[in-house]
Symmetry: C2
Subunit: 213 residues, 2 copies
Amino acid sequence: MTLVLTTYDWVPDFPRGFVRDIRVRWLLEELGRPYQVETVPLREKSPDHIARQPFAQVPFIREGDLTLFESGAILLHLSEGTVLMPDAQRPQVQQWLIAALNSVEPFAMAWIIPKFFDKDEAGAARREPLLRQRLGQLQAALGGKDWLMGDGFTVADLLMADILRIPAQNGLLDDLHGLAAYAERATDRPAFRKALADHLAHWRAADEKRSPA
Amino acid sequence: MTLVLTTYDWVPDFPRGFVRDIRVRWLLEELGRPYQVETVPLREKSPDHIARQPFAQVPFIREGDLTLFESGAILLHLSEGTVLMPDAQRPQVQQWLIAALNSVEPFAMAWIIPKFFDKDEAGAARREPLLRQRLGQLQAALGGKDWLMGDGFTVADLLMADILRIPAQNGLLDDLHGLAAYAERATDRPAFRKALADHLAHWRAADEKRSPA
């Protein structure tokens, strides 16, 4: 059964690398699962798009009769029964996946939105201490371990590391050596490199379609 | 195996009714599962607390050898294999649970924090349109259905309805009659009423301990 991943038809330069289809691509590369990419327009949200993603966002997947939105839920579903969510550790892997979505990402977004979308440096500065606190707590929880569960990379690491990318690229992990090394360890994986390359190639192909030769 | 739910030893009046142990209590009442309550100090975060909840929050649970934090992950784990997460609908129930945590709650919190914690009305007003948009999208997705999955109340409704409580109590659902009715239908359930009563009784008992007779 072919898995179809839907993302936008085009986005401006700024969010490239970070549109959340990257998370699903990364997971599918880790699992060695082939997939097809379909698109919905960024600008005009059709009723069909909203029927499949009620908040008019991406990504969503289709797998036979099943349509799923929410990158976190897609990761949860696709990693089930795989090496990325070992049965014996399932509750704890789910715990860390949800911690990434609900205890780390909202604090990252509360800083990213003023900083990069609104260009409101004062607003971003107000949010930064809380994000830094969360990142410090996360590093402490990681301790000396390679991955959140210990030795094995799981879907929780995949999601957490993806969320850490913007803070890492903007110096917020500079004083958190353990967490910085963790984030780098994750994004050095061949599956992430392949997913990112394919994600970026998708936007370049979209540019070419828009500007006739 | 006795399930132990840990919450704070005491909180001021303001957050009472909303400390997130309420979600776990609600679920356990829906399932008819007995549980014991233990506490950690609100003011002094011990190493033992942080070992069990790395962000120094509550709730967390203990069930035999398993300790779990993140209310969303606790709900996911405890509802597994129960009527609140029917096997045939599992991916979609998980999808809506994660939508509640990642696509609705962060927008509610972005408005609640300036509004009620920082007493920053201008800040809250800036966040309100995005929250209202999300709530409108949620109502559209619900359509005429009683619950997100249709006829059956699931753990996704429990979490979503809990997240809607503060917006509902502050007028943000006044123009969203379908969503307001949905939220009321959920919190009218005997399990929620019992959970809320026990949650509030916990804080009253804490007050009595603090003020010697």
